[in-house]
Amino acid sequence: MGFDHQTFVAFAKSWGLFYLIALAIGVLIYAFWPSNRKRFDRAKKSILDKDDRPGD
């Protein structure tokens, strides 16, 4: 297992970028997936409901 500095750098420079792109696409798909719209709408309004007691 001879990991030298160059290997790490090459790995960081290549896979780091793929990781970033994959993650960005994943997040965008999740955020804009049509069936998620309802739950997001519910979530954003939920905090404005009555919140005096647990379980309300």
Binding site: H5, A12, W15, G16, Y19, L20, L23, G26, W33, S35
Partner: protein, 243 residues
């Protein structure tokens, strides 16, 4: 994908793992090369470690928060090199635990301070900066002159660093307290060992101007006088580029 994420959200643990994954893996990809970064550091065979007295001085520098106003990192910019000296190399701080590069210059950079002023200037400056530089806003550090330096645990300091990879020899660790005393007491019998263990060019002087006492001032001035002088690598590099 949405189903996957929905499940992820439903279980709080899954969500935790996602956050750790995204942040830590992302961070790790960048950080990983830094665990081998010592391989990229220039070699400087002539470089020596800090003496016990300088180590004690460095710890006083840390204790008083000097790093908050003084950097020890000359950047590769023309004006900095002309103002302070050859730009700093990674190798110069290879034994620095922690590094003291700093991030603010309320006062000037100190990376090449060693040998620039006399011991007496440093002592006068630290006791009352405005006596030497009237416009200075540096605090007075009068207590450094009053406080005896505690040398009892210096062996422990060196031993801890040795375990963390700083190449102190066993003799250096064992004689730490004596060497600290000897470096500031040139006329004592302890002085000779300092040169033996740390090299003939090591400063052995009564740094605070009072040979009889070992004060915190001795330690701090000894440290300030060795800044940028543990190796010639930076000067050599600049000279080579000049040709």
């Amino acid at each position: 994908m949405p189903n996957f994420h929905r499940k992820l959200e439903r279980s709080a643990i899954g969500f935790v793992l996602a956050i750790i994954g995204v942040s830590a893996i992302g961070g790790f990809v960048e950080i990983a090369p830094l665990f081998t970064i010592q391989e990229t550091v220039e070699k400087a065979p002539d470089m020596r470690v800090y003496t016990p007295l300088e180590t004690a001085g460095r710890n006083i520098y840390i204790r008083e928060g000097c790093y908050a106003c003084h950097s020890q990192m000359i950047r590769t910019l023309r004006d900095e090199v002309e103002r302070y000296g050859p730009y700093s190399l990674a190798v110069e701080s290879q034994y620095d635990k922690p590094m003291l590069w700093g991030s603010k210059r309320t006062g000037p950079d100190l990376a090449r301070l060693g040998g620039k002023y006399s011991d007496a200037w440093h002592v006068a400056h630290l006791v009352n900066p405005r006596a030497v530089v009237p416009q200075s806003v540096m605090p007075k550090y009068g207590w450094l002159m009053r406080n005896e330096l505690s040398t009892a645990d210096l062996s422990l300091h060196l031993a801890a660093q040795r375990r963390l990879g700083v190449p102190y020899t066993e003799a250096q660790v064992a004689n730490a307290s004596a060497d600290a005393y000897g470096q500031a007491s040139p006329d004592s019998s302890y002085a000779g060992g300092v040169g033996e263990r740390y090299g003939a060019e090591t400063n052995v002087r009564a740094f605070d101007g009072e040979p009889g006492r070992l004060t915190e001032m001795d330690a701090l001035v000894a440290y300030l006088q060795v800044l940028g002088r543990l190796t010639d690598a930076a000067h050599r590099q600049t000279a080579a580029k000049g040709k």
